[in-house]
Symmetry: C2
Subunit: 720 residues, 2 copies
C-alpha cells in the first residue's frame, strides 16, 4: 500500500471485513425467518488501541473522532538536537527528558508542542466495529498508524476508501442509491403487481396511508409467478415507515389497489468500465445480462446470489475473481472477500466447512495477486495462507492424501462423484494449492517492507517480518510436496484402462467423472498425452454424465477453451445462457434445465421458489468471452501488461473495452469485419493475430486491415 | 452440574461471562471519558447452534424464544420397537426410516409426533450474546442441551440461575433494586449536596423540570470533598430522563436549589447470610464495613472497586475468593469471575497482562474447588487451565525460571522489589501453580462424567473427555516440575547470609523484600527452619520496608496468622481499618496512610480524587476474623465439612453465623464469656478448643462451659 496522506477511518486490520461479513452472512431471510450462515463466524476485536509517533517541528493540533467508548492519550517529549547522525537523538533523550502525558475526550481539539509526540487512541465497542478518525494538518489518520489488540504484536491499522468522512460510522455501509420506478403496474386478483425493467437489490418505497401500511405485507419476487404466490413466495415483509428492507426484487405484489411504489436500488460503486458489443445480438444480450447479474452479486463482498443465500462462499467467490478481472476490475472487493472468507486464526474448520473451498481460497489469493499485482496484500495475508494450508496438512492420511474428517464437507460439485476414501479432485486441488503457496511465497523473498515507514519508531514492536530465508525454505517445502503429490495422484488415480482419472482408488469402482478430469486439466496434473485422452474419453464422451451446475460448467468450458475447442464453447454459451434469455431471464440463474417449464423451473431444494434467479456463478460468459474470444490475458512478462489474441473469425463486428489489471488500465478493440483497431490506456501489450505478433505501447492505437484472401491481417499504422 | 428439569436461557458455554465481562470492563468512566480496560478482551460467539435429541412416547409441543436472528429445525424420525436390548433401535432405524424435517420461526408452537425428535436452534446475533429459551412440558431448555460454534466439537450449553424467564434477554443483567433516600440534604454555595447513609452502586433519580434537567450536571462523590469539587470530581453525568447511569455514590452535588433526589441501589443477590458480632464495637464495625465494601464490589463479577476501575483483575479476585468463602458463599460469582478473567483460547498474553495474575488465576480455581466442591467446573475448565499453564511454560528461560517477556507486567506488589532477571516471587507462584495443576488434575482421575446423560446420542460428537491415564501423566509431570522448581528456588534465591530469600540472583544486590518472603511462606517454599528465620529477619525486622498496599497487607497478615501471631494481626486490623473508620469511612479504601489528612487522603495516581474509597482488597478483615479468630476452616477430611478452632481469649462475647462450603450450610457460635454454643446446619465438623477435639454432627448443637480456673472448657451437652 502506498502511503496516502489523506485521513480516513482506521481500525484493527481485517475487522471491517469480519464485521461486515457477519452482517452479510446473517442477512438471509426465508419467509420471515432469519437464516444466518451455518459455519464458524469470526468476530472483530472489541477492544483496540491505535497509535502513531510523530516528531513535530512546529506546533500543531488535531481532533480524534471515534465509534466506541474510550479516550486519547498524548505523550509529549521535548527534543533537543544531538549528534548529526541522529539529529533528534530520540531514544536517548526520551529516557531522560520529562514526559508530559495528557488525556483527551473524543471530539476535543488537542494541541501539541514541537518535539516527539505519541498519540494513542483507546477504543472499545462491543456491539459493532470500533474505529477512529483523526482530523488534523499533520497528525491525521493516514497510512502510518498501528493497531493493537493487546494480544498479538502491533500491526498496521486497517482502512478503506469507502470510509473517509468523519461523519460516517464504519459499521454502517453507505450504499449508493438510485430510485427506479416500475415499468408496469398491473391490477391482479386481490391486489396489484409492480414490475421493474430488471432485477435489483432494492428497498421498496411505498406511499400509502398509515392505516393501509399498518396491515400491509409486500411480496417481492424474482419471477412473476413467485410474487403472485403469497404462500410460497420466498420473501415477504411488513414495511416499516413505508419501506421494506433491501431485497432481491423484480416483481412485487401488494394486496389492494395500485399505489405509488418505487424501488431504491442500493449498490456498491465499482471502478470497472468494461463494455462488449459485437454483431451477434444474442451474444451481446448474454454479456449484458451476465454483467448485470455479476454487478448485483458484487456488493461489499462477492456473494452467491441476491435473494439466496446472500452468503460469501469461497468456491463461488473464486469464480467471481475471473469475471471481476474482465468486468469490474475491483481489487478492493477481492481483498474484502478474501479476508471475510478466511476469518481469524486459529483455523479450526474448512472455509464454509468445505474442504475444496479452503484450497480454492488459496488459489483465489493467487488470482488476486495476478490481477491486481497486490504484493502488500500477499505480504499481510501470508500468515493466514500458511495457517490455512497447515490446517489442511494436519488432515492428511497415511498416504499423504487430504481426507474429509468428521464435519468436513467434501463437495467438489453436485454430481455423482465417488468420494469413498480420499477424493481425487481434492488431491488435485491440494497439489495446486501447494504449488500456489510455493509460487506466492517465492514472490515474497526479497520483499522486506513489512514495517510501514512511519511506524518503525513505534512504542511497541511491529510484527516481525518473516525473513527471506524462511520464505525460501517454506517455498521449497511446498513445491516438493506439490511435485510428490502430483506423482502420487498419477500413480493412484490414473487408469490406463479407461484412459482417464478415476474418482476413488478405495472403492474399487473405478468411477470416471467429468469433474475429476476437468480438475486434472485445470490444475495441470494431466500431461499432454493424458489431456488428449481425457478430451476424447471424458469430455467428448456422452456416456460420462453431463455437468448439471453452472458452477462446474464454468470449469468445463474453461477447460474446453484451453483445449482449443472454441466452437463448442460458443455454442454452449448461446444454447445454455441463451436458453435462459428465451425464458425471459433478466439475470442468470443458479441452475437451468431447458427441459423444465412453467413454475417448475423456479423450483430447487424442494422449495417452489427456492432457486436463485440471480446467481454470480452464472456470470461466467463475461469471463469466457473476454478471455477466449476477445482473447485478452494478463502477461507474466514484466515488459508487457497483457496479451491480446482476438478470435476474429467469430465476429463480423466488435466494439469493446476491457480492463487490464486493476489500476484503471484498459484495452479497446473495434472491428468492422475488415479493420481492427486496438488502443491502450495506461498499459502496454502484445497482440497476436494469425501467428503475427506486435507490441503495443501505452496510450497507443494500432490499426490492422484484413487482406482480401483468407482473412489475413496486415498492420496499417501505429498511432501514439 | 445436576440435571435440572426447569427451563432457562441457554447459550454457548462461557459466553454469558465473556459478554458481560466486556460490558463490565468497558464500563469505567473518568470525567466523562470512557476507559475500557487495557488488555485483550475475548468476544462471545456470534453464530451458534443449540440442540438436543429426544425419544418421545407421547406427542408434545414446545416453543422456542430467542435473542438473535434464526430459526428452529425439527427432524422427526418414526421409531419402531426392536430388540429388548435396544428397544428403540435408534441408530439402525434412523438410517432407514423416512425423516421429516421442518423449519419453524421463533415464537411458533411446534408439535411433534412420538418417535425420535432432534431440535436444532440456529441463532446469530452480532451486537450481543445470542441465546435461546425453549418452553414446553417435555421439550424444554433444561440441562441436556448441546452448543456448537461450528469450530470445535459440541459442548454442553451454558446457563445461569439468573436467566430463567422467557421475557428476559441474557445480554441485559436484571439487577435487584432498592430505592434509598438521602439522609441529609444541605444547601451549599452554588447548589445542593445530597448525602446517603453509606456508599452505594446506584442510579440517581432526579425529580426536576425538563428545563432544569436539560442543563443539569450531577457530581456524585465518594467523599464530601469530591462531590463539592466539580473540577476534580472523578464522575459527572448529564441525567437522561431524570436518571444518571449507575455509579459509585455516597454524596452528590447538584447545582441549584434542593430537589427530590433518590438513589436506586442496584445489586446482584448473593446467597450468603453470614453475620458477626462480638463485645468489641470497633471490630464489629470493621466487619460490617468490610462486608458492605465487599458486597458492593461483588456484582456480576468480583471487581476491584465501584468508582474505579470497575474492572475484573485476577489478583484482586483471588483475594475476593477468601472473603467470599466466609461472607457470601456464592459459587456462581466465582465461576463467572474465573471464566471472565480467563477469556478464550488460544492464550496469547498473561491475564490482565500481569504474569503473577495468570498464576493466581490457577490458584483461584483451586480455592473455588475447595469452597464449592465444584468438580463439574474443574472438569470443564481443565482445558483452559492447561492452556494457561502451557502458555507460562512457553516463557521459561534457560534455567527454567519464568521471565517477563516484552509487554508482560511483572507486578507482585507496588513496592521496592528487585525485578532484575527472573523475580523470586514469580517462581514461587509458578511452583504453587504447578503443584495446584497436579493436585487438581489428580482429582479428575476416576471422573468420567464429561458427557451429559441426555447428550450422548447427539447428532454431533461431544468433546472427547481426556482419559484417566492422560490426567495421571499430566499430574505427575506438573508435580515433578513443582518439586524441581522449589529446589531450584532454594538454591538460587535463599541467602543464608541474610537468613531470607532475596528478590533477584541476577542483580547481585541481594535485596530482601517482605513480598518475596511472604510468598515463600504462602506457597510452602520455606521449610520450618526458614519460616522461623523469615519471621525474625524479615517480618519482625523494621529495617525491611513495610507493606504499603492493602493488597499485600492481606498476604502479610495471613502469613503472620499462620505463624501464630494473632495478637499482632488483631492489632493491625484495629489500627489500620479502625484508622479508616476514624476518618468517617463507610467503605474501606484502596490505600490508607494514617499520616495523610484532609483532601490529600483521597489523592492517588496523581489525581486529586483518584483513590477508590470502596475497594474489594480492603475487605480482608472478614476473612482474617473468620479464618483465624472464629477459627473456621474447611476440612479436607471427607468425614467432616469444617474445623472450628475459636480463639475465645480474644472475645468476651460472640454471636456469629458463617457459611460452610457453598451449598447453604452454616455454623453458628454464641459465647458469653463462659458458655459457648456451636450449632450446625447442613454440615458436620470438628471443634478444637484448648487441645480438646469434639465432633459435631449435622443440625446439631453443642454447648461448652468454661471451668472457673484458666478458662478451661468442658462439654455440657450435645443436642441433636
Amino acid at each position: 500500500m502506498k502511503n496516502d496522506r489523506s485521513p480516513r477511518w482506521i481500525w484493527y486490520p481485517d475487522d471491517l471485513e469480519l464485521y461486515h461479513a457477519l452482517k452479510q452472512n446473517f442477512s438471509r431471510v426465508e419467509r420471515g425467518m432469519g437464516w444466518p450462515a451455518y459455519w464458524k463466524s469470526s468476530s472483530y476485536h472489541q477492544r483496540i488501541a491505535l497509535w502513531r509517533e510523530y516528531v513535530l517541528e512546529e506546533p500543531t493540533s488535531f481532533t480524534v473522532y471515534a465509534r466506541g467508548t474510550g479516550f486519547v492519550r498524548v505523550i509529549e517529549e521535548e527534543l533537543l538536537p544531538a549528534s548529526e547522525k541522529d539529529p533528534w537523538n530520540i531514544r536517548e533523550i526520551a529516557r531522560t527528558m520529562e514526559r508530559k502525558e495528557t488525556k483527551h475526550a473524543f471530539g476535543e481539539v488537542v494541541s501539541c508542542r514541537p518535539g516527539k509526540v505519541t498519540v494513542v487512541i483507546h477504543v472499545g465497542r462491543i456491539e459493532a466495529l470500533p474505529a477512529a478518525f483523526v482530523a488534523g494538518d499533520v497528525i491525521c489518520s493516514d497510512d502510518g498508524w498501528l493497531a493493537d489488540d493487546y494480544g498479538e504484536a502491533a500491526v498496521p491499522a486497517g482502512s478503506s476508501p469507502f470510509f473517509t468522512d468523519p461523519e460516517q460510522d464504519p459499521a454502517i455501509w453507505n450504499y449508493s442509491e438510485k430510485q427506479i420506478d416500475p415499468i408496469r403496474i398491473e391490477e391482479v386478483p386481490g391486489g396489484t403487481l409492480y414490475e421493474w425493467e430488471t432485477e435489483l437489490t432494492a428497498e421498496l418505497l411505498i406511499n400509502a396511508s398509515e392505516e393501509r401500511l399498518s396491515e400491509m405485507i409486500v411480496y417481492p419476487g424474482e419471477s412473476r409467478d413467485e410474487a403472485l404466490d403469497p404462500e410460497h413466495c420466498y420473501l415477504h415483509y411488513r414495511p416499516e415507515n413505508g419501506r421494506t428492507p433491501c431485497c432481491a426484487v423484480r416483481f412485487a405484489f401488494i394486496p389492494g389497489s395500485p399505489l405509488d411504489v418505487a424501488a431504491v436500488y442500493k449498490y456498491v460503486d465499482h471502478p470497472g468500465n468494461a463494455h462488449f458489443s459485437c454483431d451477434d445480438p444474442l451474444l451481446n444480450r448474454i454479456w449484458d445480462v451476465a454483467a448485470h447479474t455479476f454487478r448485483l452479486c458484487s456488493g461489499i463482498f462477492f456473494t452467491d446470489g441476491i435473494k439466496r443465500d446472500k452468503w460469501i462462499w469461497s468456491g463461488d467467490a473464486y469464480q467471481s475473481f475471473f469475471v471481476n478481472r474482465y468486468l469490474l476490475a475491483d481489487a478492493d472487493i477481492e481483498r474484502r472477500t478474501l479476508l471475510a472468507l478466511r476469518g481469524d486464526d486459529p483455523v479450526t474448520t474448512h472455509i464454509n466447512t468445505i474442504m475444496d473451498y479452503s484450497l480454492l481460497w488459496i488459489l483465489a489469493v493467487a488470482e488476486h495477486v495476478k490481477s491486481a499485482g497486490d504484493m502488500a496484500f500477499l505480504r499481510r495475508s501470508w500468515p493466514k495462507m500458511r495457517s490455512l494450508i497447515e490446517f489442511c496438512e494436519g488432515r492428511l492420511d497415511e498416504n499423504g492424501f487430504l481426507v474429509g474428517m468428521e464435519r468436513d464437507w467434501v463437495y467438489i460439485d453436485w454430481a455423482e462423484i465417488d468420494k469413498e476414501g480420499p477424493a481425487a479432485g481434492e488431491q488435485m486441488l491440494l497439489a495446486a494449492a501447494w504449488r500456489t503457496m510455493a509460487d506466492l511465497t517465492e514472490k515474497l523473498t526479497g520483499d522486506r517492507t513489512e514495517i510501514p515507514p512511519d511506524a518503525a519508531k513505534s512504542i511497541y514492536p511491529v510484527r516481525k517480518g518473516t525473513t527471506e530465508e524462511a520464505y525460501r525454505k517454506a517455498a521449497k517445502k511446498w513445491n516438493e510436496r506439490a511435485v510428490q503429490l502430483a506423482e502420487k495422484i498419477d500413480r493412484y488415480y490414473w487408469s490406463e484402462e479407461t484412459g482417464a482419472y478415476i474418482d476413488s482408488f478405495v472403492s474399487g469402482k473405478k468411477h470416471v467423472s467429468r469433474q475429476t478430469n476437468i480438475l486434472a486439466l485445470r490444475t495441470g496434473i494431466a500431461d499432454e498425452r493424458k489431456k488428449k485422452l481425457i478430451a476424447e474419453n471424458v469430455l467428448k464422451n456422452d456416456l460420462v454424465p453431463a455437468i448439471k451446475t453452472p458452477y462446474f460448467q464454468f470449469y468445463a468450458l474453461d477447460a474446453l477453451a484451453e483445449l482449443g475447442d472454441l466452437e463448442a464453447v460458443l455454442q454452449t454459451i448461446k444454447d445454455y445462457w441463451g436458453g435462459m434469455l428465451g425464458r425471459g431471464a433478466v439475470t442468470f440463474w443458479e441452475e437451468f434445465d431447458p427441459a423444465v417449464n412453467g413454475t417448475a423451473q423456479y423450483d430447487m431444494y424442494g422449495d417452489r421458489f427456492g432457486k436463485s434467479l440471480c446467481h454470480a456463478w452464472a456470470a461466467s460468459p463475461v469471463y469466457l468471452i473476454a478471455r477466449y474470444f476477445i482473447g485478452l490475458s494478463l502477461s507474466e512478462d514484466p515488459e508487457t501488461d497483457f496479451i491480446l489474441e482476438p478470435q476474429l473469425k467469430f465476429f463480423r463486428k466488435l466494439d469493446c473495452t476491457l480492463p487490464v489489471g486493476m489500476d484503471g488500465a484498459s484495452v479497446s478493440l473495434r472491428y468492422d469485419g475488415k479493420t481492427l483497431e486496438v488502443s491502450t490506456e495506461k498499459c502496454a501489450g502484445r497482440i497476436i493475430i494469425e501467428k503475427h505478433t506486435i507490441m503495443i505501447e501505452n496510450s497507443a492505437k494500432i490499426v490492422w486491415k484484413s487482406a482480401l484472401e483468407g482473412c489475413k491481417m496486415t498492420i496499417q499504422k501505429v498511432i501514439h
